[in-house]
């Protein structure tokens, strides 16, 4: 086994070009659990936590977007100024692990691991965020919805590094909520993100399918029935949206929950977020 500790982006990309199948180590909060338990013994590790280019963010008011370096930690995402531009992502960040975990864990690591239970992911899916990938030979940008292909499966190619996540700065309400066995330090049993942009509504579900799922039917119904200026969504429509979100979920029974409970939770959480987005009934 080898551990490479590059201290520049160029060195990191060179390291990955030399070892295309290397495991990328960022905050360590996913990988080290598996290494400690003996479940994983990567042959090569490229530790990117010391690459300064990954730890920067940039707000572009003209484009209306926020480019978050892959090495930005949850501690920074949960606070202003990032929280002011991406409040749902900040909400998701606050639900991750403990302070110790949030000091170490990064947005790039969350996207790189790509667990369906990853707390940042429903927000990225609802925002139509873009994943920026770099290799020694070039850069490409992939919408998050195309980036994740299954549980912990992505289109990241050997030799590629996740360098940033680009999220639009939305004008309307956005929120994230989840349920687990308790309120702190818990992995999501089911989670929902909701984003209002202009006169559109996006709803994304976590932990209830092989990937993060959107709810196109619920989104279209909510957007076509809502009075965005008045913050109003009729109660019967709201109930119908929750039903459509439940139908969009593809949950399984596993050691954390039953599929039935997960589907029920999706309805409850979707209703909760719709009432926050449209508070005037």
């Amino acid at each position: 086994m080898s551990v490479l500790v590059p201290t520049s982006l160029d060195a990191a990309l060179t390291a990955l070009a030399d070892h295309p199948d290397a495991t990328v180590l960022s905050g360590g909060t996913d990988l080290m659990v598996e290494v400690n338990s003996g479940h994983r013994r990567p042959e090569h590790v490229v530790a990117v936590s010391r690459v300064p280019e990954l730890s920067t963010w940039r707000h572009d008011p003209v484009a209306g977007s926020l480019r978050i370096g892959a090495g930005i930690r949850y501690t920074e995402i949960e606070r202003d100024p990032i929280a002011s531009w991406s409040p749902a992502l900040a909400q998701a960040a606050r639900t991750v692990g403990s302070p110790q975990i949030r000091h170490a864990a990064t947005i790039g690591g969350n996207v790189g691991t790509c667990s369906p239970a990853g707390d940042g992911l429903p927000v990225l899916r609802a925002l139509d965020a873009v994943v920026e990938l770099r290799s020694a030979t070039g850069t490409r940008q992939v919408p998050f919805g195309e980036f994740m292909t299954g549980p912990k499966r992505t289109v990241r190619a050997p030799g590629e590094l996740i360098t940033a996540i680009v999220v639009p700065v939305a004008d309307g309400y956005q929120g994230y909520t989840k349920v687990g066995v308790r309120n702190a330090m818990v992995i999501a049993t089911a989670s929902v993100a909701l984003v209002v942009r202009g006169h559109s509504v996006a709803i994304a579900l976590g932990s209830v399918g092989p990937t993060i799922l959107r709810c196109p039917e619920a989104e279209v119904l909510a957007a076509s029935s809502a009075d965005f200026e008045a913050g109003h969504l009729p109660a019967d429509v709201l109930a119908e949206c929750c039903e459509l979100a439940r139908a969009a979920a593809r949950p399984i029974d596993d050691h954390r929950s039953t599929a039935d409970y997960r589907r029920h939770a999706v309805g409850v959480l979707t209703g909760r977020l719709l009432r926050r987005a449209f508070p005037n009934g």
Binding site: V5, I101, H103
Partner: protein, 164 residues
Amino acid sequence: MADELGNQIYTLHVNGDTREVRDAWVGESLLHVLRERLGLMGSKGACEQGECGSCSVLVDDELVCSCLVMAASAVGQRIVTIEGIAPPGAPSDVQQAFVEAGAVQCGFCTPGLIMATHSLLERSPSPTEMEIREELSGNICRCTGYGRIIEAVQRVAVGRRGDA
């Protein structure tokens, strides 16, 4: 240039000292290296998955679980463990307050809680009770019920303001 670390010797900066790590598998956690390679037994290992906080240390001033840090990736960073908080026989104000408030029972979680408390009070000298509970939420104690731990933190905050 990237440094390639196989099973070879590497160097960590721990509590102000430069420490060579020899005969270690390069994928070992910082917790394992601290305890088993460097003989620093203060950081405790329980869950080894970042749930319990008993292995908390500071890496470049950030409170992290040392079980989730790959030691070889911490080359060149400043690591502070419970042994670096105060010399033997001369406890820090936080350690003293834990003793006086009765915040220590079996003691297993105590080093991690001391580290978390020092880190909290550096950033927030007068934390509210809610803030204390939030900031110590990554440190699990199965004995005390936390009441006396919170009291200890508040004692330090008051003492440092000089209005005790």
